[in-house]
């Protein structure tokens, strides 16, 4: 990321301005954390909140200094002036006893303020320990505390306060602690909720894994993150306490006359409401303004602190990412784009033509272009792939076609989108509505959030039909059911009545497709529709889209970052980089002979086909943000071929191939770039070198983890889910075991079990001969030193409030007792090891990109000098080029430090690249385990074979014989695991025995262990049992097949 420049190389002005601006999404998950320096600055910049704060402080000072400020004592009577109006002697007049109203008002601030602070303070003292214990310990303690809070919450607050105060006697000082009870339940609920939320954050898990003791965990990680919502709640509660105090005083159960207090003054004034109504105004106003100020302060705090909490919610983060990709940052350099170039020929036949599209987003300073000079066309019945890393502008282009860009924050100053002869960008709202969903439909990346949770899926499909067709309810519903059937949802007429949450991710994406196709659109825009899905589900969805498309002769725009998917589904491809089209061609052309260095680099950095053992190809640096575009070729700074010419002038898109392929490169006629064939020559010999014979570091035997399942009105335990079911694993010293499986297979639970973040139900975990399942408390914490974890999500795995030196330094304090500069010195060394400079020391996580954060997480994991590193999908959230950087770092660290890895991923090609051995997990069990190349090239288990087959291989010339195996159905419901082999309902090879008898492990001659009946009681193929393997499959698809 560019906000971080190596020391000395940074222009300080650029750095500081960059630090204030949002960074572009640098990971598919979104790197959109707003770069914010301090909540304090935001708070002081909020005029309303500051006014409130000044007023509150003023009132407090006034109350304390009342004897000095008030013109008179609160009870000094001027019997000559009773109920007098304002005068020189009495600025606000006098009351019925001739007391000076102004003086009473000043003194009158004391009781309500004192009461408010006592009440809220008391409530905090009571609530904090209760909530921390309830949230931290959970279980029955939590149950009891929360039921008690429910009971307290059942009393209307004022009634509770009134009753308690009345029985305790009229002296509010004694009663205030009792009234505090009114506030306890809301404090307890708030703090407990936050504790539970923070506890589940990866950074708290990481701290526990590092061996941070519970006390320190609460002090340094949980309390600071609970503090901001609590402060807001305190401010609001102070205001409400003042209102309660006034109410109680008014009813005569608070302060007693002759005390001066705002509430009592109202009571007194009320008696003379007919004669001197004005007396009511001042105390009422005093209360109103004080409470208002407290509320304004609370609002200001919420705005100021709220935004810093980006560690907490994934959804918010994604949204932030989208917005920052959209609302791009303040500009640092102006740039002039070359005049639009090259129109290509076939536009007459095109269904959709995008011409020189330019999209700009509003920033504080100016309109910033995020998409420029984008032109492409889609032919009827064909698929156009739009490919690029995050920040390339592919999604913005897709949204622009649909007119879905945020109205006020974006504009399309140049360019046009023609669809069947209609220009869409200038179309009026109603006409555009009639096209959306009807002629052009769209599906999105996040099937989990793209459906409305409040309506049944049938309803949501039917309403779209009714929006575009003049049909009745019944007919629209029938159409919805029919569409669900067409997208392969079993039992569609019943499922149509289900709400989205009752569907899995893959099924929801099917529902989205059913909805999109319900009006027979001519064009479907699919924006990363499979990115959030498992590789097996992705294969299902891709196949479904292809078959639906060919049935309907529908055109499709398929947006993705995955070239493998492009090879699979697209006919034509547009490669985008930094808001521009860099190459546009037919798919085969791109893979055989790319004409832009970025295309070549993308092809090269795919892990799918990298030769095992070699370093992955890396594209140095990051995609630039919209506000930091260089004047010349935008890819220039990262390009291996760049010459001086590239840096000076904008580059035009030019025709580079006879068939009309376009590329934006000044060197296009001088360079001969490498295609797939040259980049990834297939290995004819497959070395199966078993490096696993060294001593064991980690030995897991019979590991099991059961989760109780509660159902029914009484929440009784009615069953158990075996998340991990009898797992045996071995990781040798200095080696890597890769662990793969679909989501729901139990991989992450296994990782947490091994680290003892959760306690196993059964089994043993030997680390260097010590059984960690038998360790407790201090011993366990000490032992944690040897194993560390790196999580998937680089955004939630670092405490957003801590600086890098504290994050990475925490384990050093715990284990080595290092503090201060000695600690920071060591942190700097660790940062250096992971490829970050000393400049990162004093920064906070939000100032880094996804890849850099992952490096910080690795540095933290390295700090205790562990021998085993558990990597839980460490690269899944990163862009292709960043992914390769992190993997290369890990392999490098292993070589240098002799670390052992347990590397978890759903992507077999990444796992294969880094692993010595691979274990495949399905429904809590290891179904196959063996040397990496053996498993990858000669899978013995049908599930492994299916996983391998589902990987979209970037090979446009895939032999016809190698049709993909698309697994039917989804991972079985772990509540009702299938009998026998748990994979048998989805297994294309299933035999009778599979549904009744559980397969036992079988060891092949190459040292692979497999649990499958095919190998023990299966058929004999070609005169040989299936356990004897055919030679490795031919080139191109390196992934193997069952034979």
């Amino acid at each position: 990321m560019s906000t971080l420049l190596p020391p000395g190389s940074g222009d300080p002005i650029v750095m500081s301005s960059a630090a204030m601006t949002p960074e572009p999404a640098s990971a598919p998950d979104g790197g959109g954390t707003e770069v914010v320096h301090s909540a304090l600055r935001r708070f002081t910049g909020d005029p309303l909140a500051m006014t409130g704060l000044v007023f509150i402080v003023g009132v407090i000072v006034m109350a304390i200094a009342a004897p000095l400020l008030a013109p008179d004592g609160p009870n000094v009577q001027d019997l000559l002036h009773l109920n007098a109006g304002p005068s020189g002697a009495h600025w606000l007049g006098t009351d019925d006893l001739g007391r000076d109203v102004l003086s009473r008002l000043i003194f009158g601030a004391r009781p309500p303020l004192r009461a408010a602070f006592q009440v809220v303070g008391g409530a905090l003292v009571l609530a904090l320990p209760l909530a921390l214990v309830a949230g931290f310990v959970r279980g029955w303690v939590d149950m009891i505390v929360m039921r008690a809070m429910d009971a307290l919450f059942s009393f209307p607050p004022l009634v509770l306060a009134l009753t308690v105060a009345a029985l305790l006697g009229p002296n509010l000082n004694d009663a205030s602690i009792a009234i505090a009870i009114v506030f306890v339940p809301s404090f307890v609920r708030l703090i407990r909720g936050e504790v539970i939320a923070v506890r589940e954050e990866n950074y708290v898990e990481a701290a526990r894994a590092t061996g941070v003791a519970p006390g320190r965990l609460i002090r340094t990680h949980i309390l600071p993150n609970v503090a901001s919502p609590l402060i807001i709640q305190v401010a609001l509660s102070l205001g409400y306490a003042i209102l309660i105090d006034a109410g109680l005083s008014f009813l005569g159960v608070g302060e007693q006359p002759p005390t001066a207090s705002w509430g009592l003054m109202l009571t007194e004034a009320y008696r003379f409401i007919f004669s001197s109504p004005l007396a009511l105004v001042f105390p009422g106003l005093a209360i109103l303004l004080t409470v208002l100020s407290l509320n304004l302060v609370a609002d200001g705090l919420r705005d100021a602190l709220g935004r810093e909490r980006f560690g907490l919610k994934a959804a918010r983060r994604r949204r932030g990412a989208r917005r920052t990709e959209a609302v791009a940052a303040r500009a640092t350099r102006a740039e002039r784009e070359a005049p639009p170039t090259s129109d290509h020929g076939s536009s007459t036949a095109e269904l959709l033509t995008v011409e020189h599209l330019r999209v700009e987003f509003a920033t504080r300073a100016r309109w910033l272009p995020v998409v420029e000079d984008v032109s492409f066309g889609v032919l009827p019945g064909r698929t156009l792939g739009l490919v690029g890393e995050s920040g390339s502008g592919k999604t913005v282009s897709a949204l622009a076609i649909m007119g879905l860009l945020p109205k006020r924050e974006s504009r399309i100053p140049e360019g046009a989108v023609h669809f069947s002869g209609i220009e869409l960008t200038r179309l009026n709202a109603e006409k555009m509505r009639q096209i959306r969903g009807n002629d052009i439909a769209m599906i999105f990346q996040e099937p989990m959030t793209s459906l409305n949770p409040a309506f049944t899926v049938g309803n949501q499909i039917a309403e779209q039909v009714r929006a575009h067709r003049d049909v009745g309810r019944a007919e629209a519903w029938a159409r919805a059911v029919d569409m669900l059937d067409q997208v392969g949802i079993p039992d569609p007429s019943r499922r149509a009545k289900d709400y989205p949450h009752a569907f899995s991710g893959g099924m929801r994406q099917r529902v989205m497709i059913a909805m999109a196709l319900s009006c027979e659109p001519k064009l479907l825009i699919a924006d990363e529709p499979t990115t959030a899905l498992d590789v097996t589900t992705q294969a299902q969805i891709l196949e479904l889209l292809s078959s639906l498309q060919s049935e309907r002769q529908m055109a499709m725009i398929f947006v993705t970052h995955d070239l493998g998917v492009i090879a699979d589904i697209a006919d034509d491809v547009v490669v985008m980089y930094a808001g521009q089209v860099v190459e546009r061609t037919e798919v085969a052309g791109l893979f055989d002979r790319p004409h832009h260095p970025y295309s070549e680099a993308l092809l090269a950095s795919m892990p799918q086909l990298a030769a095992p053992g070699s370093a992955l190809k890396v594209i140095a640096g990051q995609v630039p943000r919209p506000d930091e575009m260089v004047p010349g070729c935008r890819f220039g700074p990262r390009c291996d071929y760049a010459v001086d010419r590239c840096r000076t002038e904008p580059v035009a898109l030019e025709v580079v191939t006879p068939s009309g392929g376009l590329a934006r490169c000044v060197l296009h006629d001088q360079l001969t770039l490498k295609g797939m064939g040259e980049l990834h020559p297939s290995a004819d010999t497959v070395p199966v070198d078993d490096r696993s014979s060294t001593a064991s570091l980690l030995d897991v035997t019979g590991l099991r983890m059961d989760f109780p399942v509660r159902t029914g009105a009484l929440r009784r335990v009615t069953g158990t889910v075996r998340a991990v079911d009898g797992v045996d694993l071995r990781v040798p010293v200095g080696r890597t075991l890769g662990l793969v499986g679909e989501s729901g297979s139990g991989k992450s639970t296994l990782a947490r079990l091994i680290l003892r973040l959760v306690d196993p139900s059964d089994g043993s975990i030997l680390l260097d001969g010590t059984d960690v399942t038998r360790l407790g408390g201090r011993e366990l914490r000490h032992n944690r030193r040897s194993m560390q974890i790196v999580f998937q999500d680089p955004y939630s795995s670092l405490d957003p409030r801590m600086r890098v030196n504290d994050i990475v330094g925490e384990p050093l304090e715990i284990y080595d007792g290092l503090t201060g500069s000695a600690r920071d010195e060591r942190v700097a060394e660790l940062l250096d090891q992971v490829g970050l400079g000393r400049y990162a020391l004093y920064r906070r996580p939000h100032e880094f990109s996804g890849g850099q954060r992952q490096r910080i997480a690795i540095a933290r994991a390295l700090a205790p000098e562990p021998r085993l590193l558990v990597c839980d999908e460490p690269v899944s959230a990163l862009d292709v080029s960043t992914q390769s950087q992190v993997i290369n770092l890990l392999t490098d660290l292993q070589a240098r430090l002799g670390l052992a890895f347990l590397f978890i991923a759903h992507d077999l090609s990444v796992v294969r690249h880094i692993s010595d051995r691979i274990a495949v997990m399905y429904l809590g069990r290891i179904v196959e385990e063996g040397p990496a190349e053996d498993v990858y090239l000669r899978p013995r288990h049908p599930y492994t074979e299916a996983l391998l087959s589902a990987i979209p291989v970037p090979d446009v010339h895939r032999p016809a014989g190698l049709e993909r195996i698309v697994l039917a159905g989804e991972v079985a419901n772990p509540l009702e695991p299938p009998t026998g082999c748990s994979f048998h309902p989805r297994c294309p090879y299933a035999m009778d025995i599979c549904s009744s008898v559980e397969p036992q492990p079988f060891v092949t001659s190459t040292g692979t262990t497999v649990r499958c009946h095919l190998h023990t009681s299966g058929p004999v193929l070609d005169g040989r049992p299936v356990t004897t393997l055919a030679p490795p499959t031919s080139k191109a698809t390196a992934a193997g097949r069952l034979t």
Partner: protein, 326 residues
């Protein structure tokens, strides 16, 4: 995946949870006696200068010689049969000396004030909040936000007094005090309750408006709203169907909590407008430490609040199918 949980089983489960809750509440209400300093009978009879026979009589009436749980058992068995005991100080000949009877007469008054205040709050709060939420940072939004900030900070009884000054003293539009039962004259009933409703409803309206504004802004930012636009739905379907159903559900919870505040607020407002509800009853009882009355009123308000929250939870589950599974 499991199919959606049924609303019926959710309601059944929710009611089952409520029963133990009601017991805890009854225990809490009964425990109020423990708050009395020193000898409860003496404290109730008026402290050190109390008449010895009164003390004795109170001790007998409240079974104060028994152990705490025996007292509670006796009390609860009476309560379950609808007997909330007798006022300590009203002579038995007065009908309202029976606490249950006293509450029965007064509860409708309190309820009509609180419910009317809530209706007022929704009538004002929902539309203004929606207008503000649909166009954040527009002038309409700024006005709504500013007025609602005042609304949540304003003591409702002060607003009540200002209304009296404005509408009853200065302009004589509405009667300043008193109450007419609905059965006697609906018009007069309405006139007498309008000011209490406004006074109570304004603050609640402000809270409702702020809540719906915030939740509408959040909802409009959701992925499924973009889907709704991409589907080519009509703008009013997008707003009134897709946005509002989701935006309203958090507000439903707030309405439940607000009802508790309104019930509490009623206790003060009744004293301002001299309305014969539970509030005035309670205040009298507090003045004399009339424990059975205090306990009875506290118990009833808590139960009413629990029932309202039960209804709110069911409504919430109706709006959020996902909740039914939890």
């Amino acid at each position: 995946m499991t199919s959606g949980g049924s609303l019926f089983s959710f309601v059944a489960r929710r009611i089952l949870i409520t029963i133990p809750l009601l017991f805890i509440i009854s225990l809490a209400v009964f425990s109020l006696v423990l708050l009395l300093p020193g000898d409860p009978a003496l404290a109730l009879a008026g402290g050190l200068h109390a008449n010895a026979s009164t003390v004795l009589q109170i001790r007998r009436q409240l079974h104060l010689n028994e152990g705490f749980f025996a007292q509670y058992g006796l009390w609860l068995s009476h309560v379950l049969r609808g007997n909330l005991g007798h006022s300590l100080f009203s002579p038995a000949s007065v009908p309202s000396s029976n606490v249950a009877a006293g509450i029965r007469i007064r509860f409708p008054v309190t309820l009509s004030i609180a419910v009317g205040g809530m209706v007022m709050a929704l009538l004002i709060g929902l539309p203004t909040g929606i207008i503000a939420g649909l166009r954040p940072r527009s002038w309409a939004d700024r006005v709504v936000t500013a007025v609602s900030s005042l609304g949540v900070a304003m003591p409702d009884f002060w607003l009540a007094m200002l209304l009296v000054i404005l509408l009853a003293i200065h302009t004589h539009v509405l009667p300043p005090l008193g109450y007419t039962p609905f059965a006697t004259s609906p018009a007069s009933w309405f006139q007498h309750l309008l000011m209490p409703w406004l006074a109570l409803g304004f603050g609640a309206a402000a809270t409702v408006a702020r809540q719906i504004r915030g939740s509408l802004i959040d909802t409009l930012d959701q992925d499924y709203m973009r889907t709704a636009v991409a589907k080519g739905l009509r703008p009013r379907t997008i707003i009134f169907k897709h946005a509002l159903k989701n935006a309203v559900s958090p507000v439903v919870t707030v309405v439940g909590i607000q009802f508790g505040y309104l019930l509490g607020g009623t206790f003060i407002i009744e004293n301002i407008f001299s309305l014969p509800g539970l509030g005035t009853y309670m205040i009298q009882a507090i003045g004399t430490k009339d424990l059975p009355v205090v306990q009875g009123v506290a118990l009833l308000t808590a139960v009413a609040f629990v029932v309202v929250n039960l209804v709110v939870d069911v409504l919430y589950a109706y709006l959020n199918p996902k909740v039914r599974l939890v």
